[in-house]
């Protein structure tokens, strides 16, 4: 089974420029997450999609960050304009969770390798 794919793996931009990241989740996974991981910290959820609808975007800085998941499959995360503090690894994850809360590994989130963004 193919894992979560992300591109690009690395990106260096100047502040005030725009950047976009792409994620292709595991086939059939209904839920998709974007996380921001700043150096020395744990991943922080930015946005969660269930199919192509947003479930939680409470921690997404909406003045500069946007995300979409057209057709309920792959997703893009955009930053416009970028700031120095946006330097981080952006992780995409997916899970088969279909919106029914259960315990166990069916709620496990599978992560992609991440995109390391450096803003100069």
């Amino acid at each position: 089974e193919a894992g979560v794919a992300q591109s690009p793996r690395y990106k260096i931009i100047e502040k005030r420029q725009s950047v976009a990241f792409w994620c292709n989740p595991i086939s059939g996974h209904a839920t998709l997450y974007w996380y921001q991981q700043i150096l020395g910290q744990g991943p922080k959820l930015l946005i969660q999609f269930q199919n192509n609808g947003v479930v939680d975007d409470s921690q997404l800085p909406k003045d500069r960050f946007s995300a979409e998941r057209l057709k309920g499959v792959d997703s893009t995360l955009k930053i416009q304009p970028a700031k120095l503090e946006d330097s981080a690894v952006y992780l995409c994850a997916s899970s088969p969770n279909l919106g029914v809360r259960t315990s166990g590994r069916d709620n496990e989130q599978f992560f992609g390798p991440g995109t390391r963004l450096t803003v100069l």
């Binding site: 997450y33 991943p43 939680d56 992780l91 919106g99 166990g104 989130q109 599978f110």
Partner: protein, 116 residues
């Protein structure tokens, strides 16, 4: 506010000995806890989890203990092997604002080094 805390940024253990990684949480609504392992340049991978209705879950060399009254969980690895060297993240989940939303809150991570 840091709802999930891993107070040890790093831990060094001799091969064959027990590794104990600790995690504390503040939100009493958390009812499901997970440990993830992360190698450099890779995304985190799931290791083991525990529901709040249990106090122990074991999977091979890995055991997670949950102390709800202390809001504390720990991951035990025994015996420790060189391949266990990685960053370990503790994460917690509660029912989200909408039914079925599994929002994970992560700790800062602990870098475990297993010395031969």
């Amino acid at each position: 506010d840091q709802q999930v805390k891993q107070n040890s940024p790093s831990l060094s253990v001799q091969e064959g000995r027990i590794s104990i990684l600790n995690c504390d949480y503040t939100n009493s609504m958390f009812d499901y806890f997970l440990w993830y392992k992360k190698y450099p340049a890779e995304g985190p991978t799931f290791l083991i989890s525990i529901s709040s209705i249990k106090d122990k879950n074991e999977d091979g060399r890995f055991t997670v203990f949950l102390n709800k009254s202390a809001k504390h969980l720990s991951l035990h690895i025994v015996p420790s092997q060189p391949g266990d060297s990685a960053v370990y993240f503790c994460a917690a989940s509660s029912e989200g604002a909408r039914w079925g939303a599994q929002k994970l809150v992560f700790g800062q991570g602990t870098r475990l080094t297993i010395n031969p």
